[in-house]
């Protein structure tokens, strides 16, 4: 609690005091103001000031809400899709259990489940062991060769071992591995001549090939980066950590904590903490390289100033990202982005206030689990 005393009150009257300003001060100020306003930095500042404060707040709030809404929709969409798939697999399992065992093959023929979401029957090998990725020892069918209907367990028989039997899948099978290595009997386990059977009816049921173990969808992204400088505000350095959660094959949400060191020429250096929340959208996925887009919001707090002096600053950001995958779990990435920082009530000038729209670059390592 702030102590009050009469002594302080005595001097408080000086708060209203006035002092005569020296001659010619306004003229000098006007001249300097014209010079300052001629610089692009100040033009930008002046243009931003035209936007009414109330609108700025609404725009900031709307940006954050938009990100949250997109994230929620994506999450809801993923959940419903997973439920549908679980239901489809339950139905499939029930159907397969009722299929005739007379169609079982004598030779074991593993079904290969590969990255391209194809089910392939391979009669070449007598090996009944599941193959981790299936590609190494098995013939991989192209999408055009895949056929057959799961609804029809009496698929066409084919006597030729070298021919592949078409299987048509009426729902999408995702890579995240509903066929767990440890659960070979719960679903599709073996097939011969195009017949799909339940694992329980076949003692060679271990032949399910699974596309790697199921991933949690979480990824950790240590990041470092920078932004463009402006005038006396040098290039800032950013370092931190974000966590990414994959929602499905296309969408991911990401949040984290970043520390920004913002050096200022001939002035005290500044630093801030920012909390980005982003939605990532996969644009192209290759064997080694992925390209994705991000859109989101940032909440940033200038350090060394209280909340009353410098409230948090909001920003909207959008960018592109390129990811190079060393392995399934380890990749490096670079994310150039464009951000717009909204004005605050604060009076401290920073790179974020002087260069409201800025280009940023974040690089780092992505470790998925």
């Amino acid at each position: 609690m702030k102590e009050k005393d009469d002594f302080s009150a005595l001097f408080q009257s000086l708060g209203e005091a006035k002092m005569p300003v020296k001659e010619g001060f306004w003229e000098d100020l006007e001249k300097d103001l014209s010079a300052v306003m001629a610089t692009p930095m100040e033009e930008v500042t002046a243009k931003r000031a035209v936007l009414r404060p109330i609108y700025r707040r609404w725009v900031a709030a709307a940006s954050v809400l938009l990100v949250l809404a997109l994230g929620s929709v994506a999450f809801w969409y993923l959940n419903s899709q997973e439920q549908d798939m679980q239901q489809a697999f339950s139905e499939l399992s029930a159907k397969l259990e009722t299929s005739p065992e007379s169609n079982l093959p004598e030779a074991d023929t593993p079904i290969i489940y590969n990255n391209s979401h194809q089910i392939v029957s391979n009669s070449h090998s007598n090996n009944t062991q599941a193959t981790g990725h299936g590609r190494s020892s098995s013939k991989i069918m192209t999408p055009g060769l895949v056929a057959a209907s799961l609804g029809d367990t009496e698929a066409e028989a084919d006597d030729d071992d070298d021919e592949m039997v078409p299987v048509e899948v009426t729902f999408q099978i995702i890579e995240r591995g509903y066929f767990q290595g440890g659960q070979p009997n719960n679903g599709l386990t073996n097939a011969s001549n195009g017949n799909l059977v339940s694992g329980e009816s076949n003692e060679t049921a271990t032949a399910v090939a699974v596309n790697g173990k199921k991933k949690s969808g979480w990824a950790l992204k240590p990041a470092f980066g920078t932004s463009l400088p402006k005038g006396e505000y040098n290039m800032p350095l950013t370092a931190g950590m974000t966590v990414e959660r994959k929602l499905n094959n296309t969408l991911a949400v990401e949040a984290g904590l970043l520390y920004n060191y913002m050096p200022v020429h001939n002035d005290e250096n500044q630093s801030s903490l920012s909390l980005p929340v982003k939605l990532g959208v996969n644009l192209a996925e290759g064997k080694k390289v992925d390209v994705y887009a991000t859109v989101g919001g940032v909440v940033e707090k200038l350090l060394g100033k209280s909340f009353s002096e410098e409230p948090v600053q909001l920003a909207a950001t959008a960018g592109l990202g390129v990811r190079y995958k060393f392995t399934d779990n380890l990749a490096v990435y670079a994310e150039p982005s464009l951000s717009h920082y909204f004005d605050t009530d604060g009076t401290t000038r920073t790179l974020r206030t002087e260069q409201a729209v800025n280009v940023n670059l974040l690089c780092g390592v992505r470790m998925s689990y």
């Binding site: 609690m1 702030k2 005393d5 009469d6 002594f7 302080s8 005595l10 001097f11 408080q12 009257s13 000086l14 708060g15 209203e16 005091a17 006035k18 002092m19 005569p20 300003v21 020296k22 001060f25 306004w26 000098d28 100020l29 006007e30 300097d32 103001l33 300052v36 306003m37 100040e42 500042t45 002046a46 000031a49 035209v50 404060p53 109330i54 001939n266 002035d267 005290e268 060394g304 100033k305 209280s306 009353s308 002096e309 004005d343 605050t344 009530d345 604060g346 009076t347 401290t348 000038r349 206030t353």
Partner: protein, 187 residues
């Protein structure tokens, strides 16, 4: 805020030269006094006033949440603090608690009685002549209504240091008032 002030604010926001001149005319003298209280030097005060107005005109972020004068006050005091920090790259010249000389406790009632006849300009000079560190603390505590905790955060010092600096400022001012009254009495 009255209608004239609203028009002036809108004009400043749009960069209108007349509105800027009007704002300057209305507040320059008051703001110079604020700058002087912080810097303790008239030349420095003019420099701060200059930079403060440039900042106000080029970055007019006033939103009407408070009175215009309060906002300008805030900008100028922030500008003055920044100026003092820049002036001393290694930090404000604050004496450690141990270095502060012992001064007798202030008899506030007696000082108040003696100070009643002292004019504003003299009191202002007394504040301006305080050592830098305790002048900053005194200004922030008395005029900006900051707590010692807030002052400590602002000046990157300990709250106890802020308290001791404030006590020291009070003792010095009491001494100055006493000397002034005695001197005036002799005349």
């Amino acid at each position: 805020m009255n209608a004239d002030e609203l028009i002036m604010v809108e004009g400043c926001r749009k960069g209108d030269a007349d509105a800027r001149k009007q704002l300057y005319t209305q507040y320059a003298e008051q703001m110079l006094a604020v700058c002087y209280r912080y810097t303790g030097n008239l030349d420095d005060a003019h420099d701060v006033l200059h930079d403060g107005f440039i900042k106000i005109f080029t970055h007019f972020t006033f939103r009407g949440d408070s009175a215009l004068k309060s906002w300008m006050y805030k900008v100028m005091s922030a500008q003055a603090i920044d100026f003092m920090r820049r002036k001393h790259a290694n930090g404000l010249q604050l004496m450690d608690n141990e270095e502060l000389p012992d001064l007798p406790d202030v008899d506030e009632k007696a000082v108040m009685a003696e100070a009643r006849g002292i004019d504003e300009e003299t009191l202002m000079n007394m504040v301006a002549q305080l050592p830098e560190g305790c002048r900053m603390v005194f200004n922030l505590f008395v005029f900006e209504d900051k707590s010692h905790k807030e002052i400590a955060e602002l000046l990157h010092i300990q709250p106890d240091t802020s308290k001791s600096q404030f006590r020291y400022a009070k003792s010095l001012l009491a001494k100055k008032i006493k000397q002034y009254v005695e001197h005036e009495g002799e005349r």
